[in-house]
């Protein structure tokens, strides 16, 4: 049977005929962007370079944040162990006992836990994930020369960099960085004298995160504008790859929720610096009554979690988008239920704004109000389950290519199921009475957000690495990395559920002094060892990443995976403006895999008459 698909003879010449002419190359402004080292590599306005900057900065922070977790895991796993060998790095934060046993100072333990959370949530999984892939993929996949405003895009990166620099500086303060938890609840965050980290450490924390919000907003405004306004001819919203839908909705969530965090911070700054009482009321410190009256600490929690909950979806939605795309490409099947996927993304985004108080069931909010939040929290499970179902259906009977990218995508689905199920437990306010602030919550959010989002990110890195560096990463190392990571990640977080059900509280320095917690010494040691193993496997990724930049297998064809989306029509060596001539026009959705016996049909291929007729017959 001859196929009903008519393919253009030559991709490049066809795009020159059929593509959209925006006269981009008529005026030679393109080159001024990359004319010298500084404009090409440092203050670059090219979205592809900015993507790499976000990725590598994110990796830097991931290493620091993960190393911190190893430090406090040592304390939790081996509370009596001697860590004086860490003194060269941590200096006075190691306290030496009379017989020469070094242990972690309690203040620094809390500072490490706090910094770990802040860094991973904001710098790695927000900036490193959506910063990298929104920048790389939005212009390439919608068919745009660059972002709507390359200048604001560059500023977005540099504000992120600045935020990082300030946070980094806070690590070296003599009083240490902020230590009141990544959520920065008052009064620890509002009273400079409340703890060692509450003074200068908290001030720098606030400055850093405010700069960070500026970065997120500049980036997000650009992403949304680009998706809405700079799609190529024929690229209707319903033809967008799911990656773009995910980045687009993520950006909208960020634009709507981060300003609320700034409002919360603003009041906090006034409480800290100007003596107002927004969050503070009737407080005694060191036996002294402060003159703050009439404030409400709950107010901060509302403002924080109004961002905080959407933030977790800001982290996981881009990973979901990447996973959808990678699964479809590697299962050689259309993504199952494309529209259902889009509507679930939208539903999740909407619901994420009306569930924030599930983080506050135990903070003294009115139990009747809690009911409202229980209901909406549980409803989020519906679109989440739709997505899981669709991913599995996409894999079902596909001719799956098992490679590092697709393995991590499948691993994502596994993690998202495991962590999503525990979310349903926590979402019931009555069960949460027992589980709140225990290791059960730690297990829940690390699996569903931490590990899952990392898996999505890894999947994207392995998949689009050739688009970034023109070479492939090493597959063998990649697969070792995958198996090592998934096994050790489960080994870390699975046991935490049991700790949590037994009531072991999170954020404690030591569990030796209570019977109900000290019995878990062996389990805690096991978790710590698993954490070190997991870290070792990530070193493998870093080696692979940098090694492949110079020594990886070279990409020789434009479309190595035989994928359908537009980024694979651009030249191997990324050029400014992305396409040398016209921009390809789009004639179909992004998931024509296996249609009429064809392995894949790219989005720029027009629908022939024969195909249109065959399409009609399919419908009837």
């Amino acid at each position: 049977m001859s196929s009903v698909i008519t393919r253009p003879q030559n991709e490049e010449t066809f795009i020159e005929e059929d593509g959209y002419d925006d006269h981009f190359h008529d005026h030679h402004h393109g080159d001024k962007y990359q004319s010298n080292f500084i404009t090409k590599y440092i203050f670059s306005m090219d979205h592809k370079m900015i993507a790499k900057q976000f990725l590598i900065t994110g990796m830097f922070w991931a290493v620091i944040g993960a190393a911190m977790s190893l430090v406090f895991r040592l304390q939790l796993g081996f509370p009596a162990g001697d860590i004086s060998w860490l003194e060269p790095f941590l200096g006075k934060w190691i306290t030496m006992s009379a017989d020469g046993v070094g242990s972690l100072s309690t203040e620094f333990y809390y500072a490490m836990v706090t910094m770990h959370g802040t860094i991973l949530v904001f710098f790695v999984l927000t900036a490193g994930l959506s910063g990298t892939f929104s920048n790389l993929l939005i212009p390439l996949q919608v068919g745009a020369r660059d972002m709507a405003s390359p200048l604001l895009n560059m500023l977005s990166y540099w504000f992120f960099f600045l935020a990082g620099a300030v946070m980094f500086a806070s690590l070296f303060l003599s009083t240490g960085p902020f230590s009141g938890g990544w959520t920065a609840y008052p009064p620890l965050s509002a009273l400079p004298q409340a703890s060692t980290g509450s003074g200068a450490g908290m001030t720098l924390w606030l400055v850093s995160l405010t700069l960070f919000v500026v970065s997120v907003l500049l980036g997000g405004i650009n992403y949304v504008t680009t998706v809405l306004n700079l799609r190529t001819k024929g690229m209707s919203m319903w033809r967008l790859p799911l990656t773009i839908w995910a980045f687009f909705v993520t950006a909208i969530i960020g634009i709507l929720s981060f300003p609320v965090l700034v409002s919360g911070f603003l009041l906090l700054m006034f409480d800290r610096g100007m003596g107002t009482s927004f969050y503070l009321s009737e407080i005694f410190i060191g036996g002294q009554a402060l003159d703050h009256v009439g404030g409400s600490a709950l107010l901060y929690q509302h403002l924080f979690w109004f961002l905080g909950h959407p933030e977790v979806y800001i982290i996981v939605l881009p990973a979901m988008g990447i996973v959808s795309e990678v699964l479809a490409v590697n299962a050689r099947k259309p993504i199952f239920g494309y529209k259902a996927m889009v509507f679930s993304i939208l539903a999740i985004a909407f619901l994420s704004f009306i569930v924030w108080a599930h983080h506050m069931f135990m903070s003294g909010v009115n139990p009747f109000i809690s009911n409202f939040f229980v209901v909406f929290t549980l409803i989020i499970a519906v679109p989440s389950a739709v997505k899981v179902f669709n991913w599995i259906s996409t894999l079902y009977r596909g001719s799956i290519r098992f490679n590092s990218a697709s393995l991590f995508a499948i691993g994502f689905v596994s993690m998202f199921i495991s962590g999503g199920l525990t979310g349903i437990w926590l979402g019931n306010s009555s069960i949460d009475i027992q589980l709140h602030d225990t290791y059960f919550v730690v297990a829940h959010f690390h699996i569903v957000m931490g590990v899952a989002a990392f898996f999505g990110m890894y999947s994207g890195v392995y998949h689009w690495y050739p688009k970034m560096y023109g070479r492939f990463m090493n597959e063998t190392l990649g697969q070792i990395h995958f198996w090592g990571t998934i096994i050790s990640a489960y080994a870390i977080f699975w046991p935490m559920h049991y700790l949590g059900m037994a009531g072991v509280p999170r954020r404690y320095y030591s569990f030796n002094n209570f019977d109900f917690t000290s019995q878990f010494g062996a389990m805690n040691a096991f978790i710590t060892i698993a954490a070190f193993v997991a870290f070792a496997f990530q070193v493998l990724l870093i080696i692979n990443f940098f090694y492949s930049m110079y020594k990886g297998k070279k990409m020789t064809t434009r479309n190595p995976y035989n994928a359908t989306t537009l980024e694979w029509t651009t030249p191997i060596e990324g050029i400014h403006g992305n396409w040398p001539g016209k921009i390809p026009s789009v004639h179909r959705w992004a998931y024509d895999y296996g249609k009429f016996g064809e392995d894949a049909i790219a989005q720029y291929v027009p629908v022939s008459e024969a195909e249109a007729i065959a399409d009609k017959e399919l419908v009837h």
């Binding site: 925006d22 660059d146 405004i221 680009t226 300003p259 409400s296």
Partner: protein, 190 residues
């Protein structure tokens, strides 16, 4: 900029769209604070007081400045050089006066025994109007740029310059709208 090549197909300029989105973002920030106000107020222990009259004066000034800037924009399109320059300068003066009036309103509040610290009820008014004034200052910066362009460059309504002025105008109207929202909120949510 490099991406504006696609403009011919766009119904709305990307930068204008970006500005609208930013306004949405700013609106969320103020929405959050006014919600916080309501939540805190409903918890009781809430000081009631009258807003200083200067807030009403400043409102009039800000409204007027929006009108003058709008007129300035249309004069620019029609090529009425003097009118355009005059109205531009007038808008800048009105804008500056607004900020000064706000400052005096805070002084009036302070003199009336309503300091920044203490009961959160006046604190909220200071913070909300202060945050608004900070955003107006941003608008003033772009007005100053517009004035410099207006007086240094030849008056030619090229698409690029029209867009510039239009962006300033949009933001300025938004500041106006935001202040009206805040004032109504203060008055009605007592």
């Amino acid at each position: 900029m490099s991406t504006t090549g696609l403009l011919s197909r766009n119904k709305i300029h990307p930068l204008r769209l970006a500005l609208f989105i930013s306004c949405g973002s700013i609106l969320m920030m103020f929405g959050a604070l006014t919600s916080a106000y309501i939540v805190r107020q409903s918890a009781g222990n809430w000081l009631e007081f009258d807003l200083p009259n200067l807030f009403y004066v400043s409102t009039g000034v800000l409204l007027l400045s929006s009108v003058t800037l709008q007129a300035c924009y249309s004069a620019f399109g029609k090529g009425h050089v003097t009118l355009y320059r005059g109205l531009l300068a007038l808008t800048l003066i009105l804008g500056l006066s607004f900020v000064i009036l706000q400052f005096q309103a805070w002084e009036a509040m302070f003199d009336a025994g309503l300091p920044l610290k203490g009961n959160p009820s006046p604190s909220f008014v200071y913070v909300l109007s202060g945050l608004h004034a900070a955003h107006v200052l941003g608008g003033l910066v772009s007005l100053v740029v517009a004035v410099i362009h207006g007086f240094r460059l030849p008056v030619l309504a090229t698409p690029r310059r029209k867009l510039r002025l239009q962006l300033t105008l949009t933001y300025w109207h938004f500041m106006d709208f935001l202040w009206i929202y805040l004032l109504l909120f203060f008055v009605l949510q007592r």
